[in-house]
């Protein structure tokens, strides 16, 4: 079991969700987040007050999958979110120690799908 965390551009969300759906990955959590990488944000000005390199809006996806779905999920996210420009985001994959489905109390691989 792996936990996939992806930070992507907000305008890519629809496409990524569609690609995930095509790969039969239906369970995904989406959050609006702020952040910036090496490119920094756009400097904003409010009257005399300058905001240097403020944070940018991003979308964070969180997906728990069994081993066989890890590569399809990565492919889907890459396919949907990759534009080749700075700021496209990142994908992190980490191990899951335990997973429990709250409704039934099932654990492990059965719980995750």
């Amino acid at each position: 079991m792996k936990y996939i965390i992806a930070i992507i551009q907000p305008d890519r969300l629809d496409e990524v969700l569609q690609k995930l759906e095509e790969k039969q990955i239906h369970l995904v959590t989406v959050t609006q987040v702020m952040g910036h990488g090496r490119q920094k944000g756009i400097a904003e000005v409010y009257r005399s007050h300058k905001e240097g390199g403020s944070l940018l809006r991003k979308i964070k996806l969180e997906i728990g999958v069994n081993e066989e779905f890890v590569q399809p999920a990565i492919d889907a996210i890459l396919g949907g979110a990759q534009s080749g420009n700075i700021g496209d985001g990142k994908i992190f994959v980490v191990d899951i120690e335990k997973c429990i489905r709250i409704r039934t109390g099932e654990t492990g691989n059965a719980a995750i799908g």
Binding site: E44, V45, Y46, R47, S48, H49, E51
Partner: protein, 458 residues
């Protein structure tokens, strides 16, 4: 401030403009008024002034409240909305009780008496007893109500200077005492028929010492700007100012507020003609054109120096233009109005964007930078470009009158600064002015009102 019928007055010839004004105006209006009999109430004029008084109320609630509310941080938005609304409640009652009487009843040259306390003798069906020119066709009470809404918005404007850091009880004390000790006397000086710089005071007019202030460029805007500056200095900077401040939390709210201010301000300026007449039409036109020109000026300066025309810049310019139109609307031509609007906006821009940071004081919403600076420019412009064709009171113009306007501004500024300072120090003995460190960090919404503007979940 106006004559009943501009065209009729013009037929009387310009010579009368140089005669003592109350007489000239009475003569000019004589065929309408039938000599000694009290002027009949004109329903059209009365309707216009009542509508304008509602427009002026709309400027403070919700116009100014939303404008300020959008510009503060999300933890303080309720506190500033509350201050604007509380000012409307408290000052309306105060104005009825003694405020109107202090500002407008005969009294002496410095302040009115208490003859008209609780609107005693303020007639519903007869004009102001001594206003032979101004508002001679509207009930005295309509004038008092119109002025009530001016008194309501004035302390609310000052609140922008100390936003995000004054305790609410101290705020309430401040607006009552400030209205009584600062606003009422200054309004009396310039607008009552006994004031020592009023165009309605025949002696002052004859001596050529009157200050031309149509709707409050000096009385309201300069007074607010200077008082706001003193408040900002006495209360001190907000925590984290200037390096760690969040930007405005909701610009669309601020834009909505600025638009309501613009619409309401037409009533503020044109209603000051106290009738539905040529002077009111001139005031509408000057206000609209000066505001438009001032908004464009600020946006262009932003675009030139910061690369883009900013939304906050455009609405700041609009407010500067409205402020500049306030003293001028009933004295100068629309063309001169455009010029005054451009200059006021450019100087306010230089002050707010370029100079303010060097001084290091924290005037939260630029009450001095926008209202103070544009108010001074407008008041000077009202003297420089005053035209007797537009307003029969404008018996002087150009340099002579500019000197009068400067003197008026200086007296008002010094008085407002000193009295505001003393009031703040006195209030601080009774009720601490400044929110505690903890209250400021958590936000005034929760600590002063036990409420939050926005929930996080549901």
């Amino acid at each position: 401030m106006n004559i009943a019928s501009l065209s009729q007055w013009m037929q009387q010839g310009a010579a009368e403009a140089l005669a003592p004004v109350t007489q000239a105006a009475a003569e000019a209006a004589a065929p309408l008024v039938q000599a000694a009999a009290p002027a009949p109430i004109n329903t059209g004029d009365t309707a216009w002034v009542l509508v304008c008084s509602i427009l002026v109320l709309m400027m403070s609630i919700p116009g100014l409240a939303l404008f300020y509310g959008g510009l503060v941080r999300r933890k303080n938005v309720l506190s500033i909305l509350m201050q604007c609304l509380a000012a409307a409640c408290v000052i309306s009652l105060f104005w009825h009780a003694i405020g109107y009487s202090l500002a407008f009843s005969p009294g002496n040259g410095f302040i009115g008496g208490l003859d008209w306390a609780f609107f005693k003798g303020v007639a519903l069906d007869q004009a102001h007893p001594s206003y032979s020119v101004d508002g001679k066709n509207i009930p005295h009470a309509a004038f008092a109500i119109f002025q009530m809404h001016f008194a309501v918005i004035t302390p609310a404007v000052v609140a922008g200077a100390f936003a995000e850091r004054m305790r609410f009880p101290a705020f309430i004390l401040f607006i009552i005492l400030w209205t009584a000790a600062v606003y009422c006397p200054i309004a009396h000086w310039v607008w009552s028929d006994t004031g020592f710089m009023s165009v309605l005071n025949a002696d002052v007019q004859k001596a050529g010492n009157a200050v031309y202030d149509f709707a409050g460029g000096a009385v309201i805007e300069v007074t607010c700007g200077i008082s706001g500056l003193v408040c900002a200095l006495v209360l001190g900077k907000r925590k984290g100012y200037p390096n760690h401040m969040s930007p405005p939390h909701n610009l669309p709210l601020a834009v909505t507020g600025a638009c309501l201010l613009w619409i309401g301000w037409i009533g503020f300026n044109a209603g000051s003609a106290l009738g539905a007449n040529a002077l009111a039409v001139n005031a509408v036109l000057v206000t609209q054109l000066a505001t438009a020109a001032a908004g464009i000026t600020w946006a262009l300066l932003d675009a030139w120096f910061h690369g883009k025309p900013t939304v906050l810049g455009l609405i700041s310019g609009v407010i500067a233009g409205l402020v500049a139109a306030t003293p001028t609307a009933g004295y100068i031509s629309p063309g001169a109005g455009i010029l005054v609007g451009v200059v006021a906006s450019a100087l306010a821009w230089i002050f707010v964007i370029k100079l303010k940071n060097r001084f290091g004081y924290d005037d939260t919403l630029d009450v001095f930078g926008v209202h103070g600076i544009a108010g001074i420019v407008g008041t000077l412009g009202a003297g420089l470009f005053a035209s007797s064709v537009i307003n029969s009171f404008a018996t002087q113009t150009g340099g002579t009158q500019v000197v009068n306007q400067m003197k008026g501004i200086a007296i008002i500024a010094v008085y407002a600064a000193v009295v505001t300072f003393v009031l703040l120090k006195l209030i601080n003995f009774v009720s601490t002015l400044r929110a505690s460190n903890h209250e400021e960090t958590v936000g005034l919404d929760v600590t002063q009102h036990k409420e939050s503007a926005y929930t996080i979940i549901d």
